[in-house]
């Protein structure tokens, strides 16, 4: 190993008066892939990178590098960026009391390749035992990362985190149709990633999919379950982002303290939940994470902020400055941005079974295609029901095909909420949500070929 330049040495190279922040990630990722039931590949990825954010004369600059030996290019690029950068009104946070948030599980770190392979084989065997013709694809991914954050305000944080992710999908190839049933589980703690539950969920959906039934277009009760709940929550992801509120591109921008959704709807953003995929003691710019009720009994209570958006809006950071694509942090290449931690939707009182049992006819939607397409900002959705079932009085009649659902998430969650189920579950390692039953959702059915 060469002598790498330390984060402190990088900060020491900044000109006098400049404020600086170094964010460094060392990451080990091991993804394993089974395709059509057979092991295909295993990858070991060991990468490191560093981001430098500076404020010079009140202007923000940013750059990143994967070359930890080199400080001069990184510093030069960040200063060049600051020279033309945006004037900002924030300073880096200083050292504070950070919450204790468990993020590291030695059982994930010590998980061997052989154990991961065995888990994949178990999922495949379990599904193929009941459906031998079904092809099963499995991906298992283990991550161990060390994050180091240092700034000129005196903050120095380091954190080790683990993540275990299992994704599985069953594929059924018919004469005129390909059916794809995915599921996944993710946590920072090994014991919370239940491979058996992933297999069982896929089996349940396979059993329900054995028969295809026609459905007539119309406005009807639709129960959003599992991944399909994201159809309704993606608009809120945009709408509750304080930056969008400030820019007035959020439909909720004038509704702080006012009712926006049904009084049974309560939504919490929690960055401290032990071992959750999006949990950590601080966000990616050193602000302590927090638990905030964003919507309380239908009333908008808080928006999410990072340092930059908070400075613009005259608010405080809520500990939601994450570096990454939305719904993930820890990517040193990305500048911090407003992003949610775990979202917890308060469950209702009746089980999904009871809710469905009370409806003469409902469309139960498990998976959709085209998530995030359409005018999400305004709350509009229009999605293909990739996996959905016609349910009459609680009985699953069969799978529907060539069907679209459409509506406005804000309007439906305000005017037409039938019920929230009593059993919340994790979706994409981000949402912890019950099934959401809505009335008067537009359902358009094309022709159904047999």
């Amino acid at each position: 190993m060469k002598n790498t330049l330390s984060a402190k040495e990088v900060l020491a190279r900044l000109p006098g008066g400049a404020e600086g922040e170094v964010y460094e990630v060392h990451r080990q990722v091991r993804p394993l892939l089974f395709r059509s039931g057979a092991l295909e590949s295993l990858r070991l990825s060991e990468t490191a990178g560093r981001a430098l954010r500076v404020i010079v004369d009140g202007r923000l600059g940013f750059s990143t590098t994967t070359d930890l030996d080199d400080g001069s290019t990184l510093v030069h690029n960040a200063l060049d960026s600051a020279q033309h950068g945006e004037a900002v009104g924030f300073h880096y946070p200083s050292a504070a009391e950070f919450p204790q948030v468990p993020c590291f599980d030695p059982e994930v770190e010590s998980l061997s390749d052989e154990e991961m392979i065995a888990t994949g084989k178990e999922i495949i065997a379990r599904i193929n035992a009941e459906f031998p013709q079904v092809q099963v694809h499995v991906g298992i991914r283990k991550e161990v990362e060390e994050i180091y954050l240092l700034n000129t305000s005196g903050l120095e944080v380091s954190s080790r985190r683990t993540l275990l992710l299992i994704q599985a999908a069953a594929q059924v190839v018919g004469e005129q149709d390909i059916l794809f049933i995915p599921d996944e589980a993710a946590s920072r703690r090994r014991q919370e990633v239940d491979a058996q539950a992933v297999a069982e969920n896929i089996l349940r959906l396979l059993r329900w999919s054995e028969r295809t039934v026609p459905l007539t277009s119309g406005a009807m009760p639709v129960v959003f379950h599992h991944t399909a709940t994201a159809v309704l929550l993606l608009p809120l992801l945009h709408g509750l982002n304080g930056r969008n509120v400030y820019l007035r591109t959020s439909p909720l921008s004038d509704l702080l303290g006012r009712p926006a959704l049904d009084p049974r709807f309560t939504l919490v953003d929690d960055g401290r939940l032990p071992f959750a995929r999006l949990s950590s003691p601080t966000d990616d710019e050193g602000t302590p994470t927090a638990r905030k009720t964003l919507i309380q009994e239908g009333v908008v209570r808080h928006f999410l902020y990072d340092l930059k958006a908070a400075a613009l809006a005259g608010a405080s950071s809520t500990g939601n400055g994450y570096r990454g694509q939305s719904l993930s942090g820890g990517d040193f290449r990305r500048r911090p941005n407003v992003s949610p931690a775990s979202w917890l939707i308060a469950p209702g009182e009746r089980s999904l079974e009871e809710i469905l049992g009370e409806l003469d006819q409902a469309l139960l939607v498990e998976e959709v295609l085209g998530l995030g397409q359409g005018n999400v900002i305004a709350g509009e959705f229009s999605n293909n029901v990739e996996l959905g079932f016609l349910v009459r009085r609680g009985q699953v009649v069969g799978r529907v095909k060539n069907t679209m659902i459409a509506g406005n998430a804000y309007e439906l969650l305000r005017e037409h909420l039938l019920a929230l189920s009593a059993e919340p579950r994790w979706v994409m390692g981000w949402l912890h949500t019950p099934a959401i039953a809505l009335d008067r959702v537009s359902v358009i059915c094309g022709t159904v070929e047999r």
Partner: protein, 459 residues
């Protein structure tokens, strides 16, 4: 560097080994409303080793080249572990070694343009959109350029050094009237230099005006329609409806999928030709060599309405008994190449736009795209804006037009193919598995489709 790579390759005892090293220079600029959101230049370097042993792949990713021989040993070790789990062996048929250097020819190499010059241009477009109307409440103006030098070497003696430029820009405007919020955008994206983003004021104006127009547009009523898609949306249709299905990694290990997709199967009308081409110099899917070092090959996915070919990596080609096509592409050094599209388009037909409109009593003319998605069987794609067609004439503007179909139905319902052909690079890219945002192009002529399901309000 080449010497170190070849030395590391010589030490491998795997059946096959390849090493890919990437050096990349990036610039990113983005505005959100009047705010400069991001301004950065950065350099990134990394590499990936793949070893194949008995049909099992072991892969190692890194971004320091200091311990290359150890990384090869890691990959080899993992490959042996994977191989021990396999019921059948597989060997990669040898490919002739290639020694080549591919230079990019750019009018304006983005690495030589000062950051402030790039910023000034992007700021001008951003301000142009904001100036259009007080109803334009925000924008998203994003510019990104990259210049990659990729070295691909393998144990068969191949050593290719390829320069890969990419420049793209998104000009998005958000218009608001009370709670009605609409957005519209224009994009530019080419495997080219800074020159392609110059002189694009018109696109900024178009984006802003369309966002304003959408405020007045009517949400589409859901139903089954005759739809004419414009060339951009035709490209998305074929990419989602058929392109992904022809990616042979979905087929190679699945007898059921191979049976379903037997070459010779009639999948559309005789006028339908779909081409997948690695050779479109200057376009985002231009890949002289793919990330396994395979030279490009042009493939007809559909010829005269009949399924003809697939897109292959070396492995899928060998497993299915075809020649590799040069479609093994990786998003970056962090990922192994998987089967991806390059430039995919429906070839031109004979109908004029006027002929397509004729006889459409109540239909939709759908334009531009928000995105698309496929579940292999079903697919969906959404138009950025649309118009109704009434008695053969273009009528009012519509919004929220999302279309859906089934691969074995929708293409049969194509009844007219236009005599125009346009190919789009866009500013985004295609996502597959964990690799999101791969640059490519898509396109086609105007295409008319009968009985297409459109989502939307029922009342």
């Amino acid at each position: 560097m080449d010497e170190r790579i070849e030395e590391a390759l010589r030490r491998s005892r795997a059946d096959f080994t390849d090493i890919r090293i990437e050096q990349a220079w990036h610039t990113r600029i983005s505005f959100e409303g009047p705010h400069l959101e991001n301004l950065e230049t950065y350099f990134e370097m990394g590499g990936i080793v793949r070893c194949l042993v008995g049909g099992g792949w072991g892969i190692a990713v890194f971004n320091t080249l200091d311990d290359l021989p150890e990384r090869v040993a890691d990959a080899e070790h993992i490959a042996r572990l994977v191989s021990s789990e396999l019921n059948e062996r597989f060997e990669l048929p040898p490919a002739p070694p290639i020694r080549d250097q591919v230079r990019a020819s750019l009018q304006k190499d983005p690495r030589t343009i000062p950051l402030q010059e790039k910023l000034a241009l992007v700021r001008r477009y951003n301000e142009r959109m904001l100036r259009e109307s007080p109803k334009i409440v925000s924008t998203r103006t994003a510019y990104a350029d990259s210049f990659r030098i990729v070295t691909i070497a393998n144990s068969e003696g191949t050593l290719i050094v390829e320069e890969r430029p990419d420049t793209a820009m998104l000009l998005a405007a958000l218009a608001r009237e009370d709670t009605n919020i609409q957005q519209a955008w224009e994009t530019v994206g080419e495997a080219a230099g800074f020159e392609i983003v110059e002189g694009q004021e018109e696109k900024a104006v178009q984006a802003a005006r369309r966002a304003l127009d959408l405020l007045q547009a009517r949400p589409v009523q859901g139903g089954i329609y005759t739809v004419i898609v414009n060339p951009e949306l035709a490209g998305v249709l074929i990419h989602e409806a058929f392109g992904h299905l022809c990616e042979a990694d979905f087929l190679a290990k699945s007898p059921a999928m191979r049976q379903l997709l037997t070459p010779g199967r009639v999948v559309g009308p005789p006028e339908l030709n779909v081409v997948e081409d690695g050779y479109l110099p200057g376009r985002r899917g231009n890949t002289p060599y793919d990330d396994e070092g395979t030279p490009r090959r042009r493939v007809y996915l559909i010829r005269n309405g009949v399924l003809e070919g697939f897109l292959h990596s070396r492995e899928t080609a060998a497993r299915m008994g075809f020649p590799p096509t040069g479609n093994a592409r990786a998003l970056s050094y962090q990922y192994e190449p998987i089967v991806r599209m390059r430039n995919t388009y429906i070839d031109r037909g004979q109908a004029t736009f006027a002929e397509m409109l004729r006889g459409v009593e109540h239909g939709i003319y759908a334009c531009g795209f928000v995105g698309g998605n496929t579940g292999l069987g079903q697919f969906t794609f959404s138009a950025a804006y649309a118009y109704e067609i009434v008695h053969g004439e273009i009528g009012e503007m519509l919004r929220e037009v999302v279309l859906t179909g089934n691969i074995f139905e929708t293409l049969h319902n194509v009844d007219m193919i236009g005599d125009d052909l346009t190919i789009y690079g866009g500013a985004g890219g295609c996502g597959k598995e964990e690799q999101q945002g791969l640059p490519l192009t898509l396109g086609g002529p105007h295409v008319r489709i009968q009985n297409l399901t459109v989502g939307g309000r029922t009342t």
